[in-house]
């Protein structure tokens, strides 16, 4: 198979959506859970990202990080640093992060006005 000259073939242009200034809210329950996770340490941040995949094409990705190489918008939500990757900003504007206290299916839940569909477990959306 010949791909030795592939540098001469043009790349397919990706239509990157415009970055939007993300508006993000967190319920009191979610804030309380973050408080437990962070304690008094404010050096860390909550990274709210989106990955491709999942039943509906996109998956939420929540991480507690000190820093990231991914270009992000940095928000201050109720005193907590929240990072949102710029490339995913159009998918995350307007979301609300909640925490559901259940033995099965519990954890952080995201309500997203940009999602036209989501899968049963709530981790994936379209």
């Amino acid at each position: 198979m010949d791909c030795g000259t592939c540098e001469t073939t043009p790349t397919i242009e990706l239509n990157v959506p415009d970055e939007v200034d993300v508006n993000l809210t967190m319920t009191d329950k979610a804030t309380a859970m973050l408080s437990e996770a962070f304690g008094d340490d404010r050096s860390h941040a909550l990274l709210v990202g989106v990955l491709s995949g999942g039943c509906s094409g996109y998956m939420y990705d929540l991480q507690i990080v000190e820093s990231t190489e991914t270009p992000c918008q940095e928000l201050n939500v109720k005193g907590y640093r929240v990072l949102v990757p710029r490339a995913s900003s159009h998918l995350l504007d307007g979301i609300e992060i909640d925490y559901v206290d259940r033995l099965m299916g519990g954890g952080f839940k995201i309500s997203n006005p940009n999602a036209s569909a989501s899968c049963g477990c709530g981790e994936s959306f379209a």
Binding site: M1, D2, C3, T5, C6, T9, P10, T11, I12, L14, N15, P17, G49, V50, L51, S52, G53, G54, C55, S56, G57, Y58, M59, T70, P71, P85, R86, A87, S88, A117, C119, G120, E123, S124, A126
Partner: protein, 215 residues
Amino acid sequence: MFRHEAYILLLEGKEVLQFIDGLSTNLVNGRCTTIFTQANAKIIDVCEILPLGENVAIIGYRPYKDALIHHLKPRILERQITIRDITTLNHVFVGPIPDELPEGSTRLENFMGGMAVIPQRYQIEQTWDETRWNEYRINNLIPYHGAEITPKVHPFACGLDALVHINKGCYVGQEILTRMRSRGKTGKTLVRKGNPVSNPTTMGVNESLCIERTQ
């Protein structure tokens, strides 16, 4: 071997296999065949995945290329992945592949009996015409793009059950395919029938392929 109307995309970047794995039906952790499906489990394209060093080639059916690119592009997000169209650099043939191929060629095993990707600099002609290719497919119950493999069907309907991994986690279309499999209700299936048949997907001399509703 029969000339395949193929496209070849070269994906360059980090974790390309993982990216493809999250969007298709088979377990993608190396060389394999996999199916990209819509959320309703209808086929976008059935593709060969071929790792090439740091990069990964996706070989699919040319009329379905735009649909696949449309499916992949918005999901790249912050991944550092670029896509190049290297279709014009190679010939692609399917069916039984001769033992000897020109230098620089790649031989792949797949559900079509085989695939050869041969650099464009060689003048290579197909050895089978469409009639012979279709007879071979009918005899071996092999679905083909444009005939059985279309955007109107799901993988089970065109006999590609083996390309839907049984234990794999979430991907687009997975909920529907898993439910169909677990309940034993795949709706339609690929069959070979003696002529004459109504609504064949591939008409042969004595037998044909059809997609029929299961009982």
